[in-house]
């Protein structure tokens, strides 16, 4: 077929993926705002909008250069403002940049939920610029930009590590340094419920994320090919999400007696996060196993995070951190050479080689994020301060930070 038409189809495919990933911002916004109290929901949506605005800008200015520029194995250093930017994607530069910028925005916005209801808006702005301009592109360079992790054979197809582990581990260190919301933990360390104010809205967000995830994963092929691979990826993505919802529902049901909707939605997202790295290298059967375990990891991850008195209002650490790691490891367990992985995974007789590389790589990324974001937040803490004051937190950040009610005309009842 005519080369131009093939290129055109591939470009349309990647652009469609980019549009879907951008739409995931709406999913994150609805999910996270629904999972927190009404008095802080405008603040959360504001963070959601503005981190994507910043991610788009800084990824264009410097992020792409750090991530895909020519440089060393640690960081790229050419193509600032896309001037003479290298492009090995096989599709037009601008389409590739848009797709990647959407990913940077997703990584940044994951943290919004974990720090919700108490972080100063100003601090969030500083954080989100640093993450999308530097932290995310550096990790991306290591794995997708020809850096040292890709050189040792580390494989992350669509971003369990690059996007979700980066977001999840940054969320963990941020929530830890920020401290829990007032009233979240009792003196003995046992957690209280600070219930989300709009679960149907969170459910809409979850569906939007599920829908957008097809662009996230299947778009990452950067080419349509004969259609085989993108079909496999789309099916794997759907199966992992579906079974993640089922197993998390069962786990919650079995442990606490009721099939909890909010945890089921987290399970669906956990399945999606986990299948992101291995989606191109595993069979649908393996995708079901990966998603099934992800749904269970989410439930226990949420409980585990609270054991350390870390307050993560939307479960971002369990969904993106824990399952980002699990998805990355799953490549080394269920991956197949026949589907394009460098070595067979553990259960196909490849031994521990790939799994070992995956484990090493994901631990390196977790350490990098926790240390670098830890330093960033420590500096902010001792200069600007991380948290709003107590009265503002009690009144809600909507009025305190933005002077606006999310639900004007509705009377909010502040009991917690």
């Amino acid at each position: 077929m005519d080369e131009t038409i093939i290129n055109g189809i591939n470009t349309v495919w990647v652009l469609l993926g980019a549009f879907l990933v951008i739409f995931m911002q709406a999913g994150f916004g609805m999910l996270e705002a629904g999972f927190i109290r009404a008095k802080n929901s405008s603040n959360l949506i504001m963070k959601n909008f503005i981190d994507f605005c910043f991610a788009s800008m800084v990824f264009f200015l410097v992020g792409y250069a750090f991530m895909f520029g020519n440089g060393n194995s640690i960081i790229g250093f050419s193509g600032f403002l896309l001037l003479d930017a290298p492009n090995q994607s096989g599709i037009p530069l601008y389409a590739f940049v848009l797709f990647q910028a959407a990913f940077a925005g997703a990584a940044a916005t994951i943290v919004a939920g974990a720090v919700a209801e108490r972080m100063k808006f100003k601090v969030y702005l500083i954080y989100s610029v640093i993450l999308s301009a530097f932290i995310y592109p550096v990790v991306g360079h290591w794995i997708w930009g020809g850096g040292w992790l890709s050189q040792i054979g580390f494989t992350d197809f669509a971003g369990s590590t690059v996007v979700h582990t980066v977001g999840g581990s940054s969320a963990l260190i941020a929530a830890y340094l920020l401290g829990p919301r007032i009233g979240k933990f009792n003196k003995d360390g046992s957690p209280n419920i600070l219930a989300g104010h709009n679960i149907p809205m969170a459910a809409l967000g979850t569906f939007i994320l599920w829908f957008g995830w097809f662009g996230f994963n299947a778009g990452s092929t950067l080419a349509v090919g004969d259609g085989e691979l993108i079909s496999l990826i789309a099916l794997n993505t759907c199966l992992a999400a579906a079974i993640g919802g089922i197993t998390s529902m069962l786990a919650v049901w079995g442990r606490w007696g009721k099939p909890d909707l909010s945890m089921t939605m987290n399970g669906i997202l956990g399945g999606l996060v986990a299948i992101t790295a291995p989606c191109a290298f595993v069979s649908p059967g393996a995708a079901i196993i990966i998603g099934a375990l992800a749904g269970i990891f989410v439930v226990y991850g949420v409980v585990w995070v609270e054991k350390f008195c870390v307050d993560d209002p939307v479960g971002a650490v369990a969904v993106h951190g824990v399952n980002g790691i699990w998805g990355t490891l799953a490549v080394g367990i269920f991956g197949q050479k026949a589907l394009g992985l460098a070595q067979e995974g553990l259960i196909f007789g490849g031994g521990f080689t790939q799994l070992g590389i995956q484990l090493f790589g994901v631990l390196a990324v977790v350490s990098f994020c926790i240390i670098s974001m830890g330093i960033v937040f420590k500096i902010i803490k001792s200069t600007v301060g991380l948290r709003v004051d107590k009265m503002e937190e009690l009144k809600g950040l909507d009025i305190g930070e933005h002077g606006i009610d999310s639900y004007s005309d509705f009377q909010l009842f502040l009991t917690k």
């Binding site: 009265m391 009144k395 009025i399 002077g403 009842f413 502040l414 009991t415």
Partner: protein, 113 residues
């Protein structure tokens, strides 16, 4: 018997409840209320336009107590709700003629306790 009515800042409700519990006052009714006192409302900005808000959100607490509980109830509310800034609220104490518990038909002091 007295009926104690207090208007407090909504965000101080948890603190007030904790102080009341510490004083063994467990029974209370809480409703949302709007009102204004000395400060005559406040100004807020919405999309760059200044708006005068004359009625502020408050929480109204009602507690019916026997006479020997009046002081400690008042003290607990003050302790929990006081910030020292304008708008902390007010407490009213009213005589209470009758009190009947619907479930048992009990009357007076027994019904309150």
């Amino acid at each position: 018997m007295k009926l104690i009515i207090a208007y407090i800042q909504p965000e101080k409700l948890t603190d007030v409840k904790q102080e009341l519990y510490a004083q063994e006052v467990y029974k209370l009714s809480v409703t949302n209320a709007l009102g204004c006192g000395q400060q005559k409302g406040f100004h807020k900005f919405y999309r760059g336009v200044e708006e005068e808000v004359t009625l502020l959100k408050k929480v109204r607490i009602e507690i019916a107590v026997n006479d020997n509980f009046v002081d400690r109830t008042i003290n607990a509310i003050v302790k929990g709700a006081q910030t020292g800034t304008i708008g902390d609220g007010k407490i009213f104490v009213l005589p209470l003629e009758k009190c009947i518990r619907i479930r048992t038909g009990e009357n007076g002091n027994d019904a309150i306790g």
